[in-house]
């Protein structure tokens, strides 16, 4: 280890100075290709399924209720309108 004039070890003495000193070799290793967590992928797949299916059921249920309410309202209005129109037509005919 290099020392300075005070006899202290130099912190930067072993730091590579040139590009060649920093040359790094990448070596493959067996079993080192686990880029994705299986647990995370499983949870993502599960979440996608249940979010889509339950959203579909919920939206369908709300749409059905809205349509049913509108149908019921229209049926009442039509019955009332026919009840008003029929006596008028009978009166006109007689």
């Amino acid at each position: 280890m290099k020392t300075n004039s005070l006899g202290l070890a130099s912190f930067h003495a072993d730091v590579p100075r040139t590009a060649e000193d920093r040359a790094t070799t990448f070596r493959p290793v067996t079993g080192g290709d686990q880029m994705q967590s299986g647990e995370r992928l499983l949870v993502e797949a599960y979440a996608a399924i249940w979010i889509v299916l339950f959203a579909l059921i919920l939206l369908g249920w709300r749409r059905q209720k809205r349509i049913d309410a509108r149908v019921a309202g229209l049926e009442v209005a039509l019955a009332k309108a026919r009840a008003e129109v029929l006596p008028t037509k009978k009166a006109e005919a007689s």
């Binding site: 299986g38 889509v52 349509i67 229209l74």
Partner: protein, 227 residues
Amino acid sequence: MFYGLLAVTAVCTLWTIHAIFLEAPTEATMGIVQKIFYFHVPIAYSMYLGATACFVGSAGYLYNGKQGWDSLARAGAEVAVVMGLLVMITGPLWAAKAWGVYWTWDPRLTTQMLSVLLYVAYLVLRLFTGDGDAERRFAAALGVLGAANLPIIHFSVQKWGGTHPAVITGKGGGLTDPAMVSTLMFGFLSFTLFSIVLLWSRFRIDLSSSRLADLEQQALELGIGED
């Protein structure tokens, strides 16, 4: 009866989730990600159920032109699209681990995507081209022709090879543990019930929408306002 079926479906689904995570053993090579299999395959089968309903409804409508057949076809196409998209979400997530890529132009994957696009086209057609008899008949023809791709998806693995595995074949599956088999069976049961619930729900909505359109027409003829 609909809510009873919904309750049975919920119970079966909860049991399937229990079986997948607590009963079925972890697969030796792929690890825990293989558990996607227990709902990926039943969802693919559910897509076939939806597409078959679309085919039957379309053929029925072309035969006698009744509203019920058209509603069944539309409900079937919606189920086929939803289940098909779920297959195409869960499959790539599994492939990311098993194959190292999310997507590859494998025959099974490509024909599956083609089928989903066909049913998306059916729904787009129904959504944007009005509700007349000619439009319904055109859509029904698409619903009948779209079903032709289903056997191609199924047999693509055997006929053209590719990367996609064929675990369930006529010569027995690759599930070596009884818990794996029972979990898959529960998956099939749950998603069959889910498909029926969805089909029923969409069928009812379509019939009600049709009834609403009739009433609105009558209201217009009688001069009744929006109230």
